[in-house]
Symmetry: C2
Subunit: 359 residues, 2 copies
């Protein structure tokens, strides 16, 4: 999870994102201003109370508190644009949670919000964010199967965009143009949209997919409600133009697990594997020597020195799915058995050679 | 914050810690077993409800869910010891929150829990954890002013231990032996304790301090309540012996801010500064050239290219407190003004020399 989060950080920082960390506990006053406090309007609030009976909400998103906060930092056109994000736990009181970590009532979310002078400045960043998102999913191993997908928009844009990863267990249905590398979500799939996007029905393939990210033009919906304005070059007060950009790191992890596995277990991509090396010690007398050497060489190693039978250790290594498996055994005369989790080939090398290979 | 968290991770991983991430939302059943669900027993719960009216709590600590979880992983003495931690948001419904980020109703916490066979195995890890904690505070710049402090214990240990950092704004009073580098919390300060610890009243100094961490022997309080047992070498069922080990990264950050500042603002230690370099551009025509070079050299740089007056930029650089300030100005003929935030000396060098110095 930390590795996925750090990939997200790097790519979002590269397009100008600044990280902060807002609270989960939400002040009702801000949400009343945007008309999102009432349980009739927003049906997935968790609510709680202070000791003095003041009602609080648990944040399911953060437009309201962040828009209010930015009033302290945005006064003039010189203060714009700003791109602010966090990686923080969100709470949504869904009737049902399902599919393991794919849809939880409590989940980590990277939520980025952009604050721009106008639609034009917004559109530039919005385009940049698309590429940053594609970079993130590519680095997580989801490159070829993740599609920029047109979905329903709002008052300020005809479409929003989702990033949909093709997998049979996906909840969503999308129509994919594999050449143009774009897709349409079933919810907006009709002849008008096809024409509008210059796509041909007979070139599209229906697929099941998981939404791993989405980006949305908010316009002035929240800046108007909460009074986030700036003075333009002529000293006129204008509403700030906003966008929101989400990724669920837990769902990304779940999607990677859905995509990278075989009958024996997981096959983590190197970029996000918890450890690069699974060191399985099958020797009758185990010691930490090999483990220490690999650690000194700065490899990330998980060392299985449990006193259980060899078959279980090898099974667990496959199940856990680290990219490289190294086996120590009495039969190997101090050499090491080397195997990629994703392959079949097994080689026996001196440790020095293995270290060279891995580097 | 991320830097403090990563220092904690490195030191806790080094003594065998394994990171996980539990939920905030708490199932009442587990807490009823340990008699900590009732608001009469625990007065700082935040409670909320699912759509079907099931009551949930927001975790203020995580002994109960983790002890229950570990029943899946601990069966035999061979599965022990285990050291498990998370860095996660805790919620405590305090009557008053105060002192900025020092005492919040919602705060990040590193909570580590140890699972051992018996007191003897526990004591070994408990001693190791003390050193890990001292390493953490030293790396955060709090080395000389942080004291291992004896505080009230429980059923399973005469004392617990706090890590108290001396600062005038501290909420706690401690009595410090500067030679032995230990202290006693006022709450347990009496003649018996002095004698027991072999300390002399006339060698102790009264100080105000902030509790930045604490470690506690839980014994079998939670393993008994929740049924976490293991089979020993003779096949006998035994209760697992537990400990808990907390650090509040936000409070650590607040304490660093209390300790490292002057009349102009913060002076972040290099190890945890958000950026190493504050690049202040005072030129009439600003461009990103210097910023790009410094970034390519992998420095962490915050670049102030705002169109505001020079005095404000220099004031903000002092206020924000990055360790090194570099100033670009029309007067410098392409050279750079170099100043440490913690010092007075100002030097003018070519950028290449500055890069060498900083490396």
């Amino acid at each position: 999870m930390n590795k996925i989060n750090n990939i997200i950080r790097e790519e979002i920082n590269a397009i100008g994102g600044q990280e902060l960390f807002l609270t989960v506990l939400q002040n009702s006053e801000l949400w009343k201003k945007s008309d999102r406090w009432d349980d009739q309007k927003v049906d997935n609030w968790f609510k709680t109370k202070l000791k003095n009976d003041t009602e609080l909400g648990l944040g399911f998103t953060h437009e309201e508190p962040l828009t209010a906060l930015m009033k302290n930092y945005i006064n003039s056109y010189k203060d714009l644009p700003q791109y602010v994000y966090q990686i923080q736990t969100k709470f949504r009181n869904e009737m049902r949670s399902k599919s393991g970590i794919m849809r939880c009532r409590e989940f980590l979310m990277k939520d980025l919000y952009s604050f721009c002078r106008n639609q034009e400045e917004h559109d530039k960043f919005y385009e940049k964010s698309k590429q940053a998102y594609l970079n993130i999913f590519a680095r997580c191993g989801l490159e070829n199967i993740t599609y920029l997908t047109f979905a329903s928009g709002g008052v300020f844009s005809k479409y929003s965009h989702e990033f949909q990863t093709i997998t049979k267990s996906g909840e969503d249905t999308i129509y994919v143009d594999k050449n143009k590398r774009i897709a349409i979500n079933k919810e907006v799939y009709n002849n008008d949209v096809l024409e509008n996007l210059n796509l041909r029905k007979d070139e599209l393939i229906e697929e099941r997919a998981v939404e791993v990210g989405n980006i949305f033009t908010l316009g002035t919906r929240f800046s108007e409600a909460l009074g986030l304005k700036y003075a333009d070059e002529n000293g006129q007060q204008q509403n700030v133009f906003m966008g929101s950009y989400g990724i669920g790191p837990g769902r990304v992890m779940g999607t990677i697990a859905e995509v990278y596995n075989d009958q024996d277990g997981l096959i983590w991509p190197e970029s996000i594997a918890p450890y690069q090396i699974h060191l399985v010690d099958l020797r009758s007398k185990m010691d930490d020597q090999f483990y220490s050497i690999l650690q000194k060489e700065n490899f990330e190693v998980i060392y299985d020195d449990r006193e259980i039978n060899p078959g279980m250790k090898l099974k667990d290594a496959d199940l856990m799915g680290m990219p490289y498996r190294l086996v120590l055994s009495d039969k190997l005369n101090g050499k090491v058995e080397f195997k990629k989790r994703s392959g079949k080939e097994v080689s026996i090398y001196p440790l020095k050679k293995v270290i060279k290979l891995l580097k």
